[in-house]
């Protein structure tokens, strides 16, 4: 069978002219273009569907960050927590305290969450939040804020 096919390709027995393909396209091709409404409907569904997935992915990443922060907090508590502490977030002099990410006058775990969210979104990251001074605002800075929040909480 391959021999017969080879004849099609190489000896021109069944070679067709260009008109053959063109006429077939004319005959069998769609007579009308796809209406713009159909394009819109399909692409709108795509935006909805992929938007949902994107949100889930973001939530997923956010949850990972939150878990990381929580782990740091637990670790910090285990190592630094003072049994006599009231557990309330302490108000401190926030002048030049860069860990106060949300600028509410105190450093608490919410600052770590706010920073985690900004880092995940890769937007609105302030160079001032380079807490550990390594030139990058990343997860290590989030950890540093969380540790600082626990220390302040302890009454440091």
């Amino acid at each position: 069978m391959n021999d017969k096919y080879d004849k099609i390709e190489y000896d021109g027995e069944f070679e067709v002219n260009g008109e053959f393909g063109e006429d077939l396209k004319t005959v069998y091709g769609a007579k009308r273009g796809v209406p713009v409404e159909v394009d819109r409907a399909i692409l709108s569904e795509a935006r909805k569907h992929l938007g949902k997935k994107r949100s889930r992915l973001r939530i997923g990443r956010w949850a990972i960050s939150a878990a990381a922060v929580a782990a740091v907090v637990v670790f910090a508590f285990v190592h630094n927590y003072d049994a006599g502490d009231s557990g309330q977030m302490a108000m401190v002099d926030m002048e030049a305290v860069k860990e106060d990410i949300d600028r509410n006058g105190r450093v608490d775990i919410l600052d770590a969450f706010v920073l985690a969210r900004r880092v995940e979104a890769s937007e609105g990251v302030d160079a001032e939040w380079d807490i550990n001074g390594d030139g990058i605002v990343d997860g290590k800075d989030i950890d540093a804020v969380a540790v600082r929040a626990v220390r302040i909480n302890k009454g440091a």
Partner: protein, 179 residues
């Protein structure tokens, strides 16, 4: 220009813009194929939408293991068959299904020639017709045709050979053949 694989990777990450690019890349091919299978512009549009909704639901997590056309072809074909069954169930005969003879002018020699070509193609056995159209309308290579039809390359070659042989034997379309 991004490859299909790169676009799919982006779509898996939630990029709807990448889906739009992929859609426009294959829209006309899918529509044309559906038009051929269903014989109706209206049903072809339904198949187009169903095909891309099917593809969309594969995300995230879609992994393309072959060419995009290889993935899409059986999907289009199955949705077209389903559309045909529905039409028969409701005893609905689309006026468009009777091909666009309303556009053909019997006085026009070009239209007559094309009508003869269509008549000759339509009497070919289904597999032969499909291979000829995939080859000359869609421009697929024989390897690609055997992939999309999921048949051995030898079958593809055989069907193409037999189909072309029959066409050449038809006086109405003999003029298309060089040899």
């Amino acid at each position: 220009m991004k490859t299909d694989g790169e676009l799919i990777e982006d779509i898996n990450g939630g990029d709807d813009g990448a889906f739009e690019v992929l859609y426009h890349r294959y829209r006309d091919w899918v529509y044309g194929l559906a038009r051929r299978f269903t014989g109706s512009d209206g049903e072809a549009l339904d198949v187009l939408q169903e095909t891309f909704m099917y593809l969309l639901k594969k995300f995230p997590g879609f992994v393309l293991t072959a060419k995009m056309t290889t993935f899409l072809y059986p999907v289009v074909k199955n949705f077209s068959i389903t559309a045909g069954k529905k039409r028969r169930r409701f005893k609905f005969v689309s006026t468009e299904a009777v091909f666009s003879n309303e556009e053909a002018d019997p006085e026009n020699p070009l239209d007559t020639q094309r009508a003869e070509l269509r008549a000759a193609i339509d009497v070919l056995p289904e597999n032969q017709r499909e291979v000829v159209l995939l080859r000359f309308v869609d421009g697929l290579s024989l390897d690609e045709i055997s992939e999309v039809m999921r048949v051995p390359l030898s079958s593809t070659k055989s069907w193409l050979y037999k189909g072309l042989k029959k066409l050449r034997g038809n006086a109405g379309v003999r003029k298309y053949f060089l040899g």
